[in-house]
């Protein structure tokens, strides 16, 4: 017992790339700067739910924040919660739900930290009305590697506020943040699921739906008459007072890494057909619990093992509204043509609520997110093709879900990157930042 070192590694959710780093847990906001200043560069990390390399730093020091999870103040009248940056959305939901509050914006997993949610300026199914997570952040404290600390808000150090929201953890360590929760009266969501056939129907549904939450699952394998079929899912917090209890802890953990070939075009096609036909009839309505509505995959911990040890690649782009379907059709055709399996494919129309972050990803238009198992050349080629289509159509890709874009692509997607670079903490770096600034080559 009591064998010292080496420290455990740290993987992103996509488990690619695999980079060694020293992981130092921060338990208190005063633990930073570290007592023994590391020789290497540093990067704050949360629960590692970003897919690519924004949460990695080869031979660096990863400052693990999840133990900094204190809830420092809550105002029941205004819904404003101050918490340490390592508090997870799960912990906040456990706290807020019995008090009649919900997250202002939530991604598809509750296992992300507040710091991570701000650093990637995450979005959710209510983007078209609520904008990004950063819109609901009132203030936070940023600690820099030189030992200085600044409170940032839209009026205090606003340039640091803007640089840190969506700043991928590069501007310093966020110690605490204040976010505004929204009141609810029930756990339940009034749900409506409608099948669509093709993008025109999807866009029609998106235009006419008045719900707070909308998202669609889309079949990325079928061709011909089933091309771009899917299910448009919309929901609203129930207005009739209902249960507000805390969620039960998930009991299932994906037990092992599946062999790499388990996910292939046949198994995924079967899944897609099953998923599409599971909803009988064209339309289904009724109350559902918020857990399966927002977090269907959280029911099984470590579900990324399904993709095997090699991991998975994500792709998420947003294509501006003007050019509408053409770009999306091209992306979908490239994917169906490749035959690379992707059953977690999601499409949504973003709204025009501006993002507060200098580097925020969301913009008005259509966003498409999918994942692929890693099949070296084939997956990399496909991602390269998708990045090109995105660029041609004036769109951009999401750093939190990327492991492959080139410096040229990134700098075209985010022309403000040089302005942002001025705010990067000189002691901080990330594998993503090294890659997109041309300091780390892609391995082929």
């Amino acid at each position: 017992m009591g064998k010292a070192k080496p420290r455990p590694g740290f993987e992103s959710w996509g488990r690619y790339p695999k980079l060694q780093a020293d992981v130092v847990p921060l338990h208190w906001t005063t633990d930073f700067p570290l007592a023994k200043a590391p020789a290497a560069r540093q990067l704050p990390v949360g629960l590692g739910r970003s897919y690519g390399d924004v949460c990695l730093l080869e031979n660096g020091t990863l400052l693990a924040t999840p133990e900094m999870d204190r809830l420092l103040h809550f105002n029941e009248a205004t819904g404003v919660l101050r918490c340490e940056a390592g508090a997870s959305l799960k912990e906040i939901l456990d706290f807020a739900m019995p008090r009649g509050f919900f997250l202002p914006v939530t991604p598809g997993t509750k296992y992300v930290t507040v710091g991570g949610a701000i650093a990637n300026d995450i979005h959710g199914k209510n983007h078209h009305v609520a904008g990004t997570f950063g819109r609901h952040v009132l203030r936070f404290e940023l600690a820099r590697s030189d030992g200085s600390r600044v409170v940032c808000s839209p009026v205090e150090n606003p340039e640091w506020f803007a640089a840190t929201i969506g700043g991928m953890g590069l501007t310093g360590l966020m110690t605490w943040a204040e976010i505004r929760l929204r009141p609810i009266v029930s756990r339940l969501i009034d749900y409506r699921g409608v099948k669509f056939h093709g993008l025109a129907e999807f866009l029609d549904l998106s235009r006419t739906a008045a719900s707070e939450y909308t998202v669609s699952w889309i079949d990325c394998l079928s061709t011909g008459k089933n091309f771009a079929r899917g299910i448009f899912m919309q929901g609203d917090h129930a207005e009739i007072p209902g249960p507000l209890r805390r969620s039960r802890e998930p009991k299932l953990t994906f037990p092992f890494d599946l062999p790499q070939l388990a996910l292939n075009r046949y198994s995924v096609a079967t899944f897609n057909a099953f998923y599409y036909h599971r909803q009988r009839g064209n339309e289904k309505t009724g109350p559902v619990d918020y857990e399966p509505f927002f977090y269907p995959l959280d029911a099984v911990l470590k579900w990324n093992r399904m993709y095997g040890k090699a991991g998975l690649l994500q792709f998420q782009c947003v294509l501006p509204r003007e050019q509408d379907e053409h770009g999306v059709v091209e992306v979908l055709k490239a994917i169906t043509a490749s035959g690379l399996a992707s059953f977690l494919a999601v499409i949504k129309v973003f709204g025009d609520v501006p993002s507060p972050g200098m580097m925020s990803f969301p913009a008005p238009g259509i966003t498409l997110a999918l994942d692929f198992p890693i099949r070296r050349e084939a997956s990399f080629d496909l991602l390269e093709r998708l990045a090109r289509i995105t660029l041609e159509h004036g769109g951009r890709m999401y750093p939190a879900k990327d492991a492959r874009m080139t410096p040229e692509q990134f700098q075209a997607f985010y022309p403000q990157w040089q302005e942002f670079a001025r705010y990067v903490d000189p002691g901080f770096d990330s594998a993503f930042w090294q890659r997109v600034t041309g300091r780390r080559p892609l391995d082929d």
């Binding site: 017992m1 064998k3 455990p8 005063t30 133990e67």
Partner: protein, 254 residues
């Protein structure tokens, strides 16, 4: 103020070493039940963070008290002040402790002495006062965070182990004395817990999260247990460790 008996959660709680990760996780569970706290720890900013968290989670009140628990001469005054502030006491959680460096403790007596002073002698002083207090009031719970390391000496950390082993024997005696006064003494033996104290160890499958350990502790407090291993499987691991004959044990690398 309601009194607590078996089956209800304690209302007036004194936490000694309140910023230890296991203590903090346990206090969170009690805060959700609306407990009233006096929190004692050495670091003011850490104490403030824990206090704010407990108040946010539902504590009725929480007072921070900055004190170095190695200073045994200040114990009586501090404990009297804390119990007065709470208007009585239902539960005392004794959670302060240090891991210490075994190799240094082998080289230098002062290092070994510091481990024994913090983990054993200061606890003897605090628990001694608390036992008298609870015995006079004829109810209450003293819950003490010890360690599985106190069950048998191993070469990798026997100074720490001895401090906890001594503590376990002391607690057995106190329990034997105050049980007849209706006072519960709980010896808590956590295995590996992922906390700053164990940050130097590589985290394997045996490591438990502080929250998981805390739920076991809260249950044991509620059920008025005597000794509890958390997580529970350590009871069986330590049973085996204790049963290994010494001629074999002394040759092992543990």
């Amino acid at each position: 103020m309601t009194n607590s008996g078996a089956g209800t959660s304690p209302r007036r709680v004194l936490a000694l070493g309140a910023t230890s990760a296991i203590a903090e996780a346990t206090l969170r569970l009690l805060a959700e039940q609306g407990a009233n706290f006096v929190l004692v720890a050495r670091s003011e900013p850490k104490l403030a963070a824990v206090r704010d968290d407990l108040l946010t989670r539902g504590a009725t009140a929480a007072i921070g008290y900055v004190s170095d628990l190695n200073e045994t001469e200040s114990h009586a005054a501090m404990l009297a002040e804390a119990t007065a502030a709470l208007g009585g006491l239902d539960l005392a959680l004794v959670a302060h402790g240090i891991q210490g460096d075994q190799a240094e403790a082998e080289r230098e007596y002062a290092v070994a002495e510091a481990i024994l002073r913090t983990n054993f002698l200061s606890a003897v002083s605090l628990i001694g006062w608390l036992a008298n207090y609870f015995e006079a009031q004829r109810r209450g719970t003293i819950a003490v965070i010890s360690s599985v390391a106190g069950d048998r000496g191993r070469k990798s950390n026997y100074v720490y182990g001895a401090s906890k082993g001594g503590l376990n024997v002391f607690l057995d005696g106190v329990r034997n004395r105050v049980d007849r006064a209706g006072v519960n003494v709980l010896t808590i033996k956590p295995g590996f817990v992922a906390t700053p104290m164990t940050a130097h160890l590589s985290r394997n499958a045996l490591f438990a999260a502080p929250g998981q350990v805390a739920r076991g502790i809260a249950r044991a407090i509620e059920k008025r247990k005597d000794v509890v291993y958390v997580p529970g499987f350590w009871r069986w691991i330590m049973l085996i460790v204790r049963m290994i004959p010494e001629p074999v044990f002394k040759k092992m690398n543990l």
